[in-house]
């Protein structure tokens, strides 16, 4: 495996409000309501992005949604998104077929601190489809494994049937330089894995709280409790990063929808150091 320094090209956008056409190369059903789309650029140009960034995906005649990129930043020839069908646009996208076209704007937003985390332990806490926005970061960490201390991936899902990227998690779990633990909220007897909330995995340790960068992505309530658990273990808020979700229409700071305190989640986020949010995170309905 090469350990070459990974560099990402600039991500300037020509006309940020107009989508560019991409062809559906592959569509893979991951879970009953979750699928992965592999898109191929019509221009042939690679689609460079940073781990944690998102795009606005447009389905002809239906609408547009913000979706995090879930693919490998080292392989920008394919643009990969993992999508959960929870609305009319994403439900329509689940019916896409190879050769169909979609519109893409982006990439937008801030990224996981994969470069700033060099030299530190990294603990990734994620739940549900929240693993998807973190997968590019995991690819980066693995491609540059020597640059990091211990790496822990702690993942929680609803049931064993809801575990995203299960094969990949199993493969990663087989590595000796990675601690991967999965837990589910409930299971039927016969499941040999863990049952319990994802925050409990943090009790397994595997990282030095003083020297750790934590990346957290999942439902907001899960992130809230994860940050609390990390704090209890001594991880500081400026070493904890979370990825926020808000309503988005434009993704470039014009529409106002994604405001969260003083931040525009689309351009000041979605990835924030928790120290930037600590004063507003517990304010309800903000």
């Amino acid at each position: 495996m090469t350990q070459a320094q990974v560099k990402y090209a600039g991500t300037a956008v020509a006309d940020p409000m107009t989508p560019v056409l991409f062809e559906v190369g592959k569509i893979k059903r991951e879970l009953s309501d979750t699928f992965t789309l592999e898109l191929i650029s019509q221009s042939g140009n690679p689609f460079s992005f940073k781990p944690g960034q998102f795009t606005m995906l447009y389905q002809f005649g239906v609408g547009e949604v913000p979706i995090s990129i879930s693919g490998d930043p080292l392989n920008p020839s394919k643009l990969t998104h993992t999508i959960r069908a929870v609305g009319k646009v994403t439900e329509a996208m689940m019916r896409l077929k190879k050769g169909d076209m979609v519109g893409v704007r982006g990439p937008f937003g801030t990224n996981w601190p994969v470069e700033a985390a060099e030299g530190s332990d990294v603990v990734i806490i994620t739940g549900g489809v929240g693993l998807a926005p973190l997968r590019p970061a995991i690819y980066h960490l693995l491609a540059n494994r020597k640059r990091y201390g211990n790496i822990c991936i702690y993942y929680g899902a609803r049931t064993p049937e809801d575990i995203l990227f299960r094969k990949q998690l199993e493969k990663w779990r087989g590595r000796f330089d990675l601690k991967v633990e999965v837990t589910v909220d409930r299971a039927l007897a016969g499941w040999n894995g863990r049952v319990g909330v994802v925050t409990k995995l943090l009790d397994l340790g595997g990282f030095d709280a003083d020297q750790t960068v934590a990346m957290v992505c999942g439902p907001e309530v899960m992130m809230r409790f994860s940050v609390r658990a990390l704090n209890e273990l001594g991880v500081r808020n400026d070493s904890i990063y979370v990825s926020m979700e808000r309503n988005m229409k434009c993704a470039v700071g014009f529409c106002g929808h994604c405001q969260y305190g003083s931040a525009f989640v689309c351009k000041d986020g979605p990835v924030f150091p928790f120290s930037d949010l600590e004063e507003i995170f517990d304010v309800r309905e903000l």
Binding site: F60, G61, V62, K249, C255, V283
Partner: protein, 377 residues
């Protein structure tokens, strides 16, 4: 700007000529006109279109126009009213705007941007608070990261003829926002009207090269001391008449009081009608709507003004973030007067008072801030 810039005097007829010259250069001239019992901004062709002699009366939830029957100077004046429900943002950031059109082509589709060339606008009669509003929206739509192409193009080509206020109404509080009643930069020409029943004239301040060129096209003389003091006195009387004030530390009061019980109080009065956001000259929130033709072969994306007072505004799958009207009111006011500073280095409020006048229940943001200050941190 603080140094002595030369000021000039022009007569009423030269104002007409100025407008004609601007029009002659191909500008689409927009100015104050009378419509539906209010003064709004629309296309004008000559100064005959301006609502001369009209004065407005404004209070929380109240707006009335009346034709002056007083002194001749009042009856003749072109600009003795203040701001109405419309603002210039509707021209640069239209309430409805087509962003693009997508046309199906077999399995694929193509996307076309609108080809219409945007008009070159001349904004005639922009009040000082509104000049500030333009500057504020510039920071929104031409931010450090992205540019709204449509806005930027129109703004760059536009002409701003400001008019300083010689009268204020009870809802005005530009004085405490440092945005008026006299414009401080941000215009091509700024006029101060002196309508004293004898010599109807205007003091002109030049704010740009474009303005300077325009001045050359009309008869003007250097303003004399008595012209200047007369103009200053008029602007001062507008200033002195302004009783409403925004507390200076509104930003801090809001940032510290997100959990104040007063939010429930104001929410109990607020109708969530979104009027305040529609009349506000700086509110910039929008939504997009995707429409499809009946055949399903043509889809369009439209951008429309939106308001943080709607429940759907903060919808993420599962439900809206701001479920309670108190949360939505807090979002609007806190954004306008506090987080705007963090985002754009300026307040989002210009002190124009529109949100007070056009609030059906007369909610007064200056009073709300004071109430938050009272029991707050």
């Amino acid at each position: 700007m603080g140094t002595e810039t030369l000021k000039y005097v022009i007569s009423l007829s030269e104002v007409g000529k100025l407008l004609g010259n601007i029009k002659g250069q191909g500008f689409h001239v927009v100015g104050p006109v009378l419509a539906d019992g209010a003064i709004i901004y629309d296309t004008i062709h000559s100064i005959e279109d301006l609502p001369s002699g009209y004065q407005d009366e404004q209070e929380g939830g109240h707006y009335r126009l009346k034709k002056s029957t007083g002194r001749r100077g009042e009856r003749d004046a072109l600009f003795r009213y203040t701001v109405g429900p419309s603002s210039w943002k509707r021209f640069l950031f239209p309430p409805e705007q087509k962003l693009w059109k997508a046309v199906r082509e077999g399995k694929s589709f193509s996307i076309e941007s609108p080809k219409e060339k945007p008009p070159r606008y001349a904004f005639f009669g922009v009040r000082p608070c509104e000049v500030s509003a333009l500057k504020i929206q510039d920071k929104v739509f031409c931010n450090n990261d992205f540019q709204d192409k449509g806005y930027a193009e129109k703004r760059k080509k536009s002409l701003v003829i400001a008019v300083n206020c010689t009268r204020s109404v009870s809802t005005c509080f530009c004085r405490s926002m440092d945005t008026g009643p006299k414009a401080n930069g941000g215009f091509d020409l700024a006029l101060t009207e002196i309508s004293d029943g004898k010599n109807h004239r205007f003091i002109v301040e030049v704010g740009s090269k474009k303005g300077s060129k325009l001045l050359k096209g009309i008869d003007h003389t250097l303003a004399e001391r008595h012209d200047l003091s007369s103009a200053a006195a008029r602007v001062n009387s507008a200033k002195r008449a302004m009783k409403r004030q925004m507390p200076k530390d509104a930003a801090k009061i809001l940032s510290k009081n997100s959990e104040h019980p007063h939010w429930k109080d104001v929410a109990a009065r607020c109708l969530n009608c979104a009027n305040c956001t529609m009349v506000c000259p700086t509110c910039f929130c929008s939504t997009v709507e995707d429409t499809t033709s009946l055949s399903g072969d043509v889809a369009e994306r439209w951008r429309r003004w939106d308001s943080c007072f709607t429940v759907d505004f903060s919808y993420i799958h599962g439900g809206p973030i701001r479920r309670d009207s108190a949360a939505r009111y807090r979002q609007w006011l806190t954004h306008k007067l506090s987080s705007w500073h963090d985002q754009f280095g300026t307040s989002g409020c210009t002190g124009c008072g529109r949100c007070i006048t056009w609030c059906p229940v007369g909610i007064d943001i200056t009073e709300e801030i004071k109430a938050l200050q009272k029991g707050g941190k």
